[in-house]
Symmetry: C2
Subunit: 369 residues, 2 copies
DNA sequence: TTGTAGGCGTTATCAC
DNA sequence: GTGATAACGCCTACAA
């Protein structure tokens, strides 16, 4: 029945009780090398009797492998990261790996500390949603130090690590195109351009339009704005820059204020495109507060599919990222690297699905063309 | 600038470069024992120059402390566990602790494996939402082996571990009382009694009414049904057992079927009480599908407050558990134990808040009293 | 097939 | 204050 007494049963004691050397005991318990059936039995019995549990620390110290993968999420409380983490944890567990979790809150300083802690704990690999895609010396250093990295959602420019993302630009373009096709010419959007160098929407718009911007090197939120602009350009419809509300990253209050302002204008947009789970919730909040009807007063498409979008009145049309699949893919890539795969970097782009529901209609009083 | 080259910079190399012994280097780098200012400087400089990072495995092996706490959640993808984990991770990080995460999916077998893995990785303590509150030998064994345990949401009978919960029975009783006070005499509820020995609602009801059941020894979902029964008893209103839909644990489809059935009856309830986040979402789904208006056709109170409850039409009245606070409290209890607190077991019961919104009204055609 | 000896990178225990 | 030296628990030679 294996009753353990004082927790510290080492392989030495098992060996002693079995009447063999620690090496032999280690071989059968660790499952490596050859041992006679006879001794196997004896050692297993002793281990069982003493309630022996291997100390993975000691094993890791010598093998150099911890069978642990580190994860740096932005905020595990958000459904976005929670789902991704679920995927990661599932495949990790299936392979006997542990998951060491940290939050960065999208703060570079915090990410730095997190990565350092994980590295010191000797994780075999790092899965991370990097805060800063332009200058992440600590990640380059980690890779150089031999720690494989799989990036999620965002890609650090020039980092030698795999990645799992979705094509944000295409998905966004698709959403906006649908709205345009439905007859909407005034589509509101709350954009996040916090770290955009020149600081304003104007310059971003210009750079997209004169094709001097490589979408692959941008933050997801920027890529979504990129798609918004492209869709307008493709349809030959001018953009009213006042409909693009600019807002700092991940601030609910700011987004709320901005959205309320946008939807309160006398010439308010006839459609709204939200760029992530946070803005979607904020938008619904504002829409409810302003007593706007969907889709009569306002059409709506959201990036990221949340549970309530299925049952909230007419149903909210949304782009659904395959979050758990992304987590699974990331973990799979990671495990392959850990097992020694040193092939070229892989940049997986998973296909989001488009959940067509009831939040899009032709704008009121609009001629469809 | 501390450029590391090949990852393995050990304390020995730092010591060598600083011209001191590994012992001295260890003292300044590890921050223990005495060292002259002179040597401190020199060692730090060498460490910096070589890009030295301590190997926490080696340290842990000898100190017996990993500064890591293990967490077994039911399903990290649910907002419930995600929020709790957020709280845990925050206080852990603040104290320099890591968090090793696993999911049990409420499966005992999986929980067993998880606990074993965590223990072998030598976590300093375990925070867990136990699947089985009646027979958890592995948890008793863990405690006996010296691993402190903090339980969340549920309490294993007789386990020597702290706990953080809410008073489910009182909260539930309060909700039902409000509905009864509003004039509802037919209140539907989807109950989960999967592991209830005798297997049916009848016997549970009987045991509550003849006071032969200690609520402290029950699963949260049972406690919530307990409160439902008590509230009815207190108001002197008989319970129509057909309004208590029994369902297996954590199955969305089953809950959906059951809820649809309940709400489709010709004599359907005038109010509904959902017992957790899953049933709430399922209920809303069903309500939308059946085109029932809240609160006109059906009053609703939900256990667990979800983001959409604020902006979904009239606003859904709900009981909000202080989830992140629960996580924080659990982590705090854990850290205290790790620091050596061997006082009596603590069973924290945090106060849920009641979010009064617009989903409760008097039943149609009902005389109020 | 088995045992002996050495070491993984730290910290702990002593003398000095 | 400091430096040998012995742990920590396990694995990996290598020799037997």
């Amino acid at each position: 029945m294996a009753e353990k007494r004082t927790s510290k049963v080492t392989i030495t004691e098992v060996a002693k009780l079995a009447g063999v050397s620690t090496a032999t005991a280690g071989r059968v318990l660790g499952g490596y090398g050859y041992t006679s059936e006879d001794n196997k039995e004896r050692v297993r019995a002793s281990a069982e009797k003493l309630g022996y549990r291997p100390n993975l620390l000691a094993r890791s110290l010598i093998t150099g492998k911890t069978k642990t993968i580190g994860v740096v999420a932005g905020d595990i409380q958000s459904p976005f990261y929670a789902s991704i983490l679920r995927g990661i944890a599932d495949v990790a567990r299936a392979q006997g790996f542990g998951v060491l979790l940290t939050n960065s809150d999208e703060l570079l300083e915090r990410e730095l500390e997190a990565v350092q802690l994980l590295l010191e704990k000797q994780i075999d690999g790092l899965i991370i949603a990097p805060c800063d895609i332009y200058d992440s010396a600590h990640l380059h250093a980690a890779v150089r130090a031999g720690c494989p990295i799989v990036q999620i959602d965002r890609i650090v420019n020039g980092l030698a690590g795999d990645s799992v993302t979705v094509d944000n630009r295409a998905a966004s373009r698709n959403c906006i195109s649908q709205l345009l096709a439905a007859g909407h010419h005034r589509i509101g959007m709350i954009a996040e351009l916090e770290r955009w160098a020149s600081g304003n929407v104007e310059t971003f718009l210009d750079r997209v339009l004169d094709s001097s911007l490589d979408p692959a090197t941008l933050f997801p939120s920027w890529q979504r704005l990129f798609g918004y602009i492209e869709a307008h350009a493709a349809a030959g419809i001018p953009i009213d820059r006042d409909l693009i509300g600019r807002v700092g990253a991940y601030s609910a209050e700011a987004a709320k204020t901005r959205t309320m302002a946008l939807l309160s204008r006398p010439d308010r947009p006839t459609a709204l495109f939200t760029v992530d789970g946070l803005t979607s919730a904020v938008a619904m909040d504002a829409i409810t507060a302003l007593n706007l009807r969907i889709p009569d007063d306002l059409s709506l498409i959201c990036f990221d599919d949340l549970d309530w979008m299925t049952f909230i009145k007419p149903g909210i049309t949304a782009v659904a990222q395959p979050l758990t699949a992304m987590g699974e893919a990331a973990a799979q890539l990671m495990l392959a690297r850990i097992k020694g795969d040193d092939g070229p970097m892989q940049h997986l782009s998973l296909e989001p699905t488009f959940a067509q529901r009831g939040s899009v209609a032709a704008p009121m009083f609009a001629t469809t063309a």
